[in-house]
Symmetry: C4
Subunit: 231 residues, 4 copies
């Protein structure tokens, strides 16, 4: 069942330790088959070295396990919310990558301070509000998804142009058209978090790029007028 997607999600999961984004089991990737309404996700707490495509768990958009002998990632309810709310995304990544986490713990956005971020993310990377006590005590992982979606609504962000968020007190989630694209965004996020941390120490004022430069860089890589690469 969904053998090709399992291979793809497995490969994307294995990119995380290769890109130095995770320690131990601190990360997960999922990928969705939109036609079938099913997604494939890493099992919970399994070492990357022991992972196989067959170990992946199949889950439906109500969060029910459809296939798999292992428990899915404990973050599965967050993935369910995001797939339901953001209909164009095909893959989701969660990590505890340290530079991204530093901003999440500080509770501040990553301001778009240069073309590196502008090439991939159309603006500041948003941090969510903190979860309430009720949200934490309730369906915590589902509420984590809800607070992400609410952040995008409140700030009128387009998830197709902003493939990353920092959950306050926690860490990053990224997404993209495919599981691999979501990993790509996780790598870029970590790199721009590192760059911009140092920029803020050098110069805490007025580091955000002008809107025209943001438009130029994001749109030369994305959308109808893109001219980067071999397209």
């Amino acid at each position: 069942m969904l053998e090709q997607l399992k291979e793809e999600v497995y490969a994307a999961n294995m990119e995380l330790p290769a890109a130095d984004l995770v320690k131990f089991t601190w990360g997960n990737v999922s990928g969705i088959d939109r036609e079938k309404g099913l997604f494939v996700i890493k099992p919970s707490g399994v070492d990357y070295a022991d992972l196989t495509p067959d170990a992946m768990v199949v889950v439906n958009l109500q969060g029910e396990i459809v296939e798999g002998e292992l428990n899915p990632s404990s973050d599965t309810p967050t993935h369910v919310v995001l797939y339901n709310a953001f209909p164009d995304i095909g893959g989701i990544v969660h990590t505890h990558a340290p530079w991204s986490v530093a901003f999440a713990q500080a509770g501040i956005d990553i301001p778009v301070s240069g073309t590196t971020q502008a090439d991939t993310f159309y603006g500041d990377i948003p941090v969510t509000k903190q979860l309430t006590t009720a949200e934490i005590d309730g369906a915590y992982e589902e509420e984590t998804g809800n607070v992400i979606v609410q952040t995008f609504k409140d700030r009128q962000l387009d998830p197709n142009q902003m493939g990353a968020v920092l959950v306050n007190d926690h860490g990053p989630f990224t997404w993209g058209k495919t599981p691999h694209d979501a990993v790509y965004n996780a790598v870029v996020l970590e790199e721009v978090a590192k760059m911009t941390y140092h920029t803020l120490q050098l110069n805490p004022h007025n580091i955000r790029v002008p809107q025209h430069l943001l438009d130029k860089h994001f749109l030369r890589k994305h959308g109808a007028g893109a001219y980067y690469g071999q397209k």
Copy 2:
């Protein structure tokens, strides 16, 4: 004698350079057989490349060498104190890992600023008071153990929920149910020290997570209601 434990302690020692936590011989791991009241520890000042399971030294809970041709780690008296005071722990690690040491040298706790720390440590990682001149001039390594134990008493910390401490002016000790668990805690400690250092530079105020989030994350991985992983 204790061949299996020696293998286990040897393997845990070798995890330290693999995890980039030590330079030269700056670290040691021990593991205890509670039934026999004996523990196994790395010999002093031996390069990791030259280490073998047979080189491990067996010590009793009075700090006497029971077996072994080499001197045990100079930190052995600290291990003795910790094994006697914390009856549930099965392994101990000491390193000079640089982010952990930065906090130890600064003499400040690592505040629990996100879920990464909360998943493993139930609160702030404590730093001990400085040793007195008398303690330094006396049985220094034993007094190092005593000041750790005193810190846990004074601050009413449970060593089973807080598997790490920073010895002021010195560096980290961690422990766990097994030698491997103690190494795991040393890796997590170093990672959260790095993350939280950067968080404090971005935002020095109010970065500690709410109690409910700490409870949620620590308890979903530890204790009766745990639901992380394949348990």
Copy 3:
């Protein structure tokens, strides 16, 4: 056509990931044949792992593609401007290396604070002014080259003695007598950006070296009186 130069430019491009200066496809190297008035440059958006000497694109000094099946780097118009304005340079590099980018995003020069920088760069590494909206909306990549050239004119810098620049809000360009020399300068730039970032955090005042030390170090490696190495 230009087979040897293609090999040289290919090899210099492959030095970028080896020196940890690029992620994904975020960098490019070109090299010029001054007699023929043609330069060779990396194709746009191609993974380093898939690159071959044959994939390199040949461009003339009007920016027209002379040979090659792939699109050249989107930064090609910047290279054209620099080769035309700086007649002695033989190779150009662009990266998004993170320490260099941190200064570019902060919009501040890298002050010459020690002999490491003075050995290679004759003074502060300059940051350009920000591009205007008109420049961004117009021939953006060409204007990026123009703003670099204008910076060197305004500040009376000699491109043969200062082989690096930080484009504001963006990142570094470096150049040298050969493609390999340009990569060398990119590596040195990243290293001195890292060193001097930390120096500025330790001591923000008066860190620039005296002129006599700058002269001594730059000139013992460069120019008529050089006595470093096996010359």
Copy 4:
């Protein structure tokens, strides 16, 4: 001639890139035969990959080349001064390791802030005064040695207990009983520079360890009462 010493100095030079202390050719190690009054040093500007024991240059304590086809390191006159002034040392290292350079460029000592430094260096790592214009324009590399020696005299430091110095605006020199020991000290210096940089950002006040702790740690590893390791 001095074949064994050449092997030893060659091996110590190769430790520098392995320990990530140098880029390109930015470092050199020498070692001395005190009976013969000759030392062996790396040739100038030769890549580590191309180095062989035979390429080492033999120099006497007047700084004259006694054997070798290549130019010795441009820092050779500094080594000459140090070997003459510090009669017990057997090896010298110079690098541009980035954390050490950050302090050298900032012109501040590395305060002894923990046991990691105290285990190897008996106090703060000193930074020299800046060289005068006359010193720079004169016999620059020799004057670099002189300013190191003057720093040790002025501050009444014992080179056998303080095997490192930071040359202002430049970078570190370290030494020890053997070339390998000098490299060991260079590695420790870089590690404590990194640790203490971060400590100073966390807590700029009162981070120096008490004298008793410094005495305890330095003396348990060095001198008559040492009890660390297998001695």
